[in-house]
């Protein structure tokens, strides 16, 4: 089912680049921009033009003014919704950004998603969790790479130290996005890029749009750095639990490798990200300290809403995905 945002965008993308896209009458759904599947999917696809070729869409759409105007309209709604989630008190501690990040992450009481998955999730729920994450993990690290030319000196070196590891240290088969695809295949899921996009609720797409938005606007380089720091700082322990969940369900190393790799990798990355990357950026550009914390907090807040959605659906015995991702489909492949 299409809403006005995707309807407007998708019909334009099938025409010649530059075709007008009317935006004046586009509004946000009753549940707000973060939960608006239609708006978030349109924004996701608008950003996607920067990442990959979309079948049937002329690549020149990427920099078409009408596309950028459309994207900006969606971004305005999205940015406002994110700003409303971030309280001013979260942005303090700007002279010691590494320490402030530690306190932010340490004080965050997100919903206990990884604990639930580790101990109790059914096979179907674990598969759903993987499907949600595929919106990002199949292009893991790519959004943050856009920050590389926007940083300099120590912060740039630190980001590259992390990214080199994310991309497998020169070994494509160790690239984290590849490991995730292996996990999907091992679970009988479709690992092709974007296969489940239409089944993902707005808040799932919002977690990815958040990083694409931060990454594609140079003025938001502080926020993408803060996002990466908080992402790495909240990764090791949940990933150990997700690996345990798969082991509990009888899966072997071919499926758990992605999660086990992240326990060790992110125990390294989180220190580099908080101190060498975020800390160095705040020293080089002190006016960005607040933005770094904004990016970190926005990640925690959106991940929290996303986790809440999964747990709420599962508590009611419902699927957390949109529409029928036929459970049969899981085992067919």
């Amino acid at each position: 089912m299409r809403g006005p945002w995707t309807e407007r965008l998708f019909s334009a993308l099938l025409q010649a680049p530059g075709t007008d896209i009317e935006v004046d009458d586009l509004a946000v759904g009753a549940h707000g921009a973060l939960q608006d599947h239609d708006l978030q999917l349109a924004l996701y696809v608008a950003y996607e033009l920067h990442y990959a070729t979309i079948e049937g869409v002329d690549d020149r759409w990427e920099w078409s003014p009408s596309l950028l105007g459309f994207r900006q309209t969606a971004e305005r709604h999205f940015d406002r919704a994110v700003e409303e989630l971030v309280p001013d008190c979260a942005l303090q501690g700007t002279t010691d950004v590494g320490g402030a990040l530690q306190r932010l992450v340490g004080g965050d009481e997100g919903p206990p998603l990884s604990r639930f998955v580790e101990a109790r999730a059914t096979r179907e729920q674990v598969l759903e969790h993987v499907i949600h994450r595929s919106a990002y993990q199949l292009k893991e690290a790519d959004p943050h790479s856009w920050a590389i030319p926007r940083l300099s000196g120590a912060a740039k070196a630190a980001l590259l130290e992390i990214q080199f590891d994310e991309y497998g240290e020169g070994k494509p088969e160790r690239m984290h996005s590849f490991l995730f695809a292996e996990t999907m295949r091992g679970l009988g899921l479709d690992a092709s890029y974007g296969a489940y996009l239409e089944q993902l609720p707005g808040i799932t797409l919002a977690t990815v749009n958040l990083m694409s938005g931060f990454a594609l606007h140079r003025r938001r380089r502080g926020a993408i750095v803060g996002h990466l720091a908080a992402f790495e700082m909240t990764s090791s322990i949940p990933n150990r639990r997700y690996g345990n969940a798969l082991r509990r369900l009888g899966y072997g190393p071919d499926v758990t490798d992605f999660y086990d790799e992240h326990v060790e990798a992110d125990a390294v990355h989180e220190n580099i990200a908080a101190w060498d990357l975020a800390g160095a950026l705040a020293r080089a550009e002190p006016q960005l300290a607040r933005e770094i914390l904004f990016g970190a907090y926005a990640l925690l807040a959106l991940e929290g809403l996303w986790a809440e959605r999964l747990l709420d659906c599962w508590r009611e015995g419902a699927s957390s995905l949109l529409g029928p991702v036929a459970s049969a489909e899981h085992s067919v492949r």
Binding site: C89, V263, E264
Partner: protein, 92 residues
């Protein structure tokens, strides 16, 4: 920074409230002299003692509330504590 003019082959850095990061060209051996396989260039060694994959860090120090400075401690004297900050809860 290195104290000599020759760049060191290996650096070991304690991170605040976190592990030791080891960078450079090195091996990790068990006490019988066998090589412990490494899966990356930069590794994090457990400093809090609570990791479940020692000698490597698995992030458990955060659950344990481990605190330590990101530099050498001077004895005698208290370890440098994190400054307290007002608690900040997420707006719902």
């Amino acid at each position: 920074m290195s104290s000599s003019d020759t760049p060191p082959g290996v650096t070991i850095t304690p991170y605040r409230d976190g592990p030791y990061l080891v960078r450079g060209s090195f091996e990790v051996l068990d006490q019988d002299g066998n090589q412990i396989p490494l899966s990356r260039r930069t590794i994090a060694l457990c400093r809090c003692g609570k990791s479940r994959m020692r000698p490597f860090c698995d992030g458990t120090h955060k659950l344990a509330g481990f605190q330590a400075p990101g530099r050498a401690e001077e004895l005698p004297g208290p370890p440098d504590a994190n400054p307290g900050a007002p608690e900040c809860r997420r707006a719902r």
